[in-house]
Symmetry: C2
Subunit: 334 residues, 2 copies
DNA sequence: TTGTAAGCGTTATCAC
DNA sequence: GTGATAACGCTTACAA
């Protein structure tokens, strides 16, 4: 490996001067600069980032922990994070937590001893009790539900309000028996419980009595949506709308409805949540909630960089909620 | 930041002993080990990875450059790469090239490259002429088309053969006017030209004369597929099958056909390529070619690690082609 | 079984 | 404008 001092020797200057040239410092004569760049090119020199990191005490890399990168939702998030990181001069190392609590805890625990300057973690399983798991001496931003009780910076989306908007939209279109795919009223607070709560509140406000059999618990995955439709119709439960708590789920539900010969939006209206790119291209295209991903990612970076510059152990936790918006498409238009 | 020597002082031993304990070396008495681990826990010590990297001359990180992580194809690939990397003790830093030649060259050339032990790059724009762009003293595996003329390790998929299989499948089902979405016979060799060539060869072999107007050039993106259908039908071109050169494109084509009131597989048969997860859940589900992604990723790692262990400048370039398989689903079943 | 010394490649400081 | 020196935190040899 070609080192800086080899370049220095070849150019007849000191290593320090080579460093100055590389880092674009002023006070280097054009003549010297030329000699050095020539030597760099000739020898094929590259800076050793490990050494630079050691000196600088930082790596220019942030970690991104997501449940599963091949979920469209995560992939789009990762795309935004990588792009935003690039704009701010950072690189992104991606880890997958497998949507398990263990995986998320692991990502938090490992992050400090990995080479990251900070970590953005998309939490889906961590709850209130896990607040102590978050490092206090290392910049972490949680992208997901609020981790109560800890000074954890976090960015969330308007789960309750978005679900309310969807519900009102469906009720306005005459739906009275809205099946909620992924719906759940118990268990750790998260996207599922918050969106369900938003739905139920809006339903009651509209004077529609919620029915237990219309809460269809299932995981947020395409295959689960298809299976859940099979099960629900198999059980003879009638419904005039399928409110899916994520778009991925909705894709599976569309599939499941097609399997049963039910048309959308003819027989059943269908909605999603997240506004993944695919939502505009399904057949029919999908009414959904755009949770303001771009703004969320920008906010996450603002928080992370603020901690990087002033890594206070104390300090109030920051919060941000994305600006959501109902996007109406064919699946609820008849 | 707590350093190793602070731990050593606290435990009443030398830094070397702390290092030995951390790295699980033998010849450390249980008593010493206990004292050291206690001190590590009490002080909250973490190894400084930058320093370790500097010493070791490697980082344990490999780079992954993909066109655009939020393309399902790339996302699934990234998921496999990250998982495989984890299994082999590596982390993955993801970069996006934006599917541009400049982006790909940049990923190869950047001095950031130096913080990776190796690079896996999914090339879509680099061609024969770019072989010299590939570093010779740094492990790189190209995932994509063959870069002729250079000693570039690469993993490719059976583009020609897979497209041939799809074509034969369609011809067997009676199709004679197969529109090829994304089809292209000229320009830099790549997935588009290779798959088109495979299609044309199989078509001729089956005694069907290719028609120029059925080659529908468009980029491999969902929105492009929908637009291309609009254009083709608008131009009054009739076709009984839509062979899409990627699944993402097929999703858009399904959408475009629905917009025109054409049913699948009733009026038109549709096929894709790549077998992304979504392909089983579109309505109708999509006949496609599974290119053996898992095997491709495993092969890419084998090549990369082989170069890491024996980074010869010379040495024959390695090659691997994924085991492809036609997956027949509803979109071609009637 | 443990400690000492040296150096990995870079850059901040400060002198020249 | 340029260069000598001294770290950054860790681990490989070798010595004890």
């Amino acid at each position: 490996m070609v080192t800086m001092s080899e370049v220095a020797k070849a150019a007849g200057v000191s290593a320090m001067t080579v460093s100055n040239v590389i880092n674009g410092h002023p006070y280097v004569s054009d003549e010297t600069r030329l000699k050095v760049t020539e030597a760099i090119g000739r020898l094929g020199y590259r800076v050793n980032v490990a050494a630079r990191n050691l000196r600088a005490g930082s790596t220019g890399v942030i970690g991104l922990a997501v449940p599963d990168i091949d979920q469209p939702y995560c992939a789009e998030l990762a795309g935004l994070v990588i792009a935003e990181a690039g704009r701010r001069g950072y690189q992104v190392a991606v880890e997958q937590t497998g949507a398990s609590r263990e995986g998320e805890i692991n990502a938090l625990a490992q992050s400090r001893l990995r080479m990251y300057d900070g970590l953005i973690i998309s939490t889906v399983r961590l709850g209130d009790a896990d607040a102590p798991t978050f490092p206090t001496d290392f910049p972490v931003v949680a992208l997901g539900e609020r981790i109560h009780g800890g000074a954890v910076d976090h960015v969330s989306m308007a789960n309750f309000e978005g679900a309310g908007d969807v519900t009102r939209h469906l009720v306005e279109r005459g739906c009275r028996r809205i099946a909620v795919f992924g719906g759940r009223t118990h268990g750790e607070e998260g996207a599922a419980t918050l969106r369900t709560a938003g739905h139920l509140a809006a339903l009651r406000e509209a004077g529609v009595e919620p029915r237990d059999e219309l809460l269809v618990p299932c995981v947020f995955a395409t295959e689960a949506g298809a299976a859940a439709v099979r099960q629900l119709t198999g059980a003879g439960v009638a419904f005039d709308a399928a409110m899916c708590l994520t778009d991925s789920l909705a894709v599976g539900v569309l599939r499941g409805l097609a399997d049963r010969g039910l048309t959308v939006p003819g027989d059943v209206l269908v909605t999603g949540f997240d506004d993944i790119g695919l939502a505009a291209y399904t057949v029919p295209s999908l009414t959904t909630v755009a949770p303001g991903h771009t703004e969320m990612v920008a906010a996450a970076f603002d928080m992370l960089l603020a901690r990087l510059l002033a890594p206070r152990r104390e300090g109030r936790a920051r919060e941000f909620t994305g600006p959501h918006r109902l996007v109406v498409r064919e699946s609820t238009t008849r």
